[in-house]
Structures are given as C-alpha cells and as structure tokens.
Amino acid sequence: MAFTSDLDQITRAAAGDAAAVRAIVNRYSPGVLSLATRMLGDRAEAEDVTQETFIRAWKALATWEPRAKFSTWLHRVALNLCYDRLRKRREVLSDEIPERADTALGPQDALDQAQRVNAVEAAISALPERQSAALTLCALQGHSQTEAAEIMDVSVEALESLLARARRTLRGQLLDGRNAS
C-alpha cells in the first residue's frame, strides 16, 4: 500500500538512508515543482519553493506523525509557501500587477502550440490563487477530490466551487474569446 510504503520510506529517510531520501525526492519533487510553477508563474520562484518545501520536510521527518499522507502534507506546505509569496508580491507590487493578464487568443490560424500553451499558462496564473490551486491539483495533477480538498484545507464542496469558477473563467478566456474573434 502506498501509505505503508510512505511511512517506511519516511522512517528510513529520517534515519539518513540515502536511497530512501532520493526515492522521496524523485517521487514527490516533480509534483511540488509543477504546483509551484502553476501557482507562481515563475520558474525560479517555483524552484525556491520546491527547495524550501523539502527543507521543511527534512526537518519534520524526525517527528513525523502520519496524520495525513506525506504527499498531501508536502503539497500543503508547498501551497502555503506559494500563497505567502503571492501575498508578498501583492504587498510590494500591488500597483504594478494587472488585475488579469490579457489571455484572449487571436485567430485560430495564427496560434501555434507554443502560443496556446503560453496563453493557457497565463490564464491559469491570472486566476485568483485558490482557484488556480484547485485547478492545478484536480485538473492538472489528478489529485482526488478528497486529497485536493485536504491539501487546500477546504471542504470538498468548497473545492468544487473553486474549480467550477476556475474552469468557467478559462472557458470564457480561452474558448469563448477565440470563438468570438
């Protein structure tokens, strides 16, 4: 079972077992980096958050109590670090950040794949942070509803509401905008 395997790996990693440490990093760091990248829209900051997340994890290993799945806990730490950074950005640059990025797509013929990807990424980054988190966790990373709700520390109903609003916004910007042009 994944849960037992988690616990076993964590115990060994806490004792300094290099293989267990590497296994944990290989298994979870891509997801953490992906979440941070989608949330922050900035690769360098996302890497900082990923590193900070694991540094906190290493500190917590010795006293780890499996109240939640390790991956859930890890993603929650990462998400909170992202929220912190977004909050600081708002405080520092509140006058400079546009309310919403202009993500309306041009005519279909003019769009190549890279432009489309950029537009989708920009649209996700421009979402309110909790909607962006819900979309990333559920639609992009495939977390279960329960797990995503647990990571975000919200109810499943609240998660669904956030996700519905996120997808509605993206639909409006990426699909309706394109059809209208």
């Binding site: 990693a13 806490a14 004792a15 300094g16 077992d17 290099a18 440490v21 590497r22 990093v25 290989n26 760091s29 891509p30 980096l33 992906s34 990248t37 690769r43 996302a46 890497e47 990923t50 590193q51 694991f54 540094i55 290493w58 290993l61 010795a62 794949q113 489309r116 990807v117 989708v120 990424e121 979309l135 559920c138 639609a139 992009l140 509803q145 499943v156 669904e160 996700l163 519905a164 997808r167 509605r168 993206l170 639909r171 990426l174 699909l175």
Partner: protein, 147 residues
Amino acid sequence: MTDDRLIELIETWGAEAACWPEAERDAGKALLRAHPERFAGALAQARELDLMLGALPEPEMPRALTEAIIAAAPRPKRAGSGLPGWFGLKTPWAPASGFAAAALGLFMGLTMAPVASAEDEMTAEVEELVVSALGFDTATYAVEELE
C-alpha cells in the same frame, strides 16, 4: 441526477466521467447515456478545455535542484563504538587533549609545589577557630602566651 447537475459536473470536473465525484458518477453516466443530445454542447466545450490543460508541459526538475534538496536531507547516524562517538562530538580528539592537559597540570602541581606546613599562614582567625574547637579559653591562652 438532474440535467443541471450533470452539466455542472461536466463543466466543473471535465468531460471524462472518471473525473466526476464517485458518488454521482454512475447516475451521471446513466443520464448521459439516456439523453446524449442534451449534454453534447457542454461535453464538447469541456473536452476542448481538457485538451488544452492536458497539453501543458510538466516542468522538469533540474538535476542541480534535486541534488541540492538531497544534500539538505538528514544524514545517517554514526555507528556507536563503546562511548557513542564521544557523546556525539564531531572531533573526538578534542576531549582527549583536554584530559592530557589536565593530567600534566596535576603531575606538575604534585611534584613542583612546595610542601605546606601546619604553621604556614595561619591567621589569627583560623587560630582562634582551632583553639575554640579544642576547648581552650582563647583569652586565657592568649595571655599565657604573652607571658
């Protein structure tokens, strides 16, 4: 399951029934099978958005970042050898040199210091204390000594 709820599920969780909440999945699928025409528009839009989201590349973990994270991980504990690693000290020779210095100091002290006699530097206060402890009348003793 109502039409409105199924449209909500499609718009929220996407076109794939596997992504819908488990508790409503079967009912949603049954309604969709029964009346596919009612949901075709919502499904097509949801599918298109799903494809756009699915096409996003996953960021690759840079090797340097992986190694930096691993380097910050807990270190293995040292195997014990009698006294467990000199109580966890990283430089076990440090207390050994301290013990050597103390032993040398003790040796020098014992061999080079002058031997003290009982009369050396006996102050009046100490003398009085000794006499009192032996039961003499210190005043008388002092007078006798003067004579």
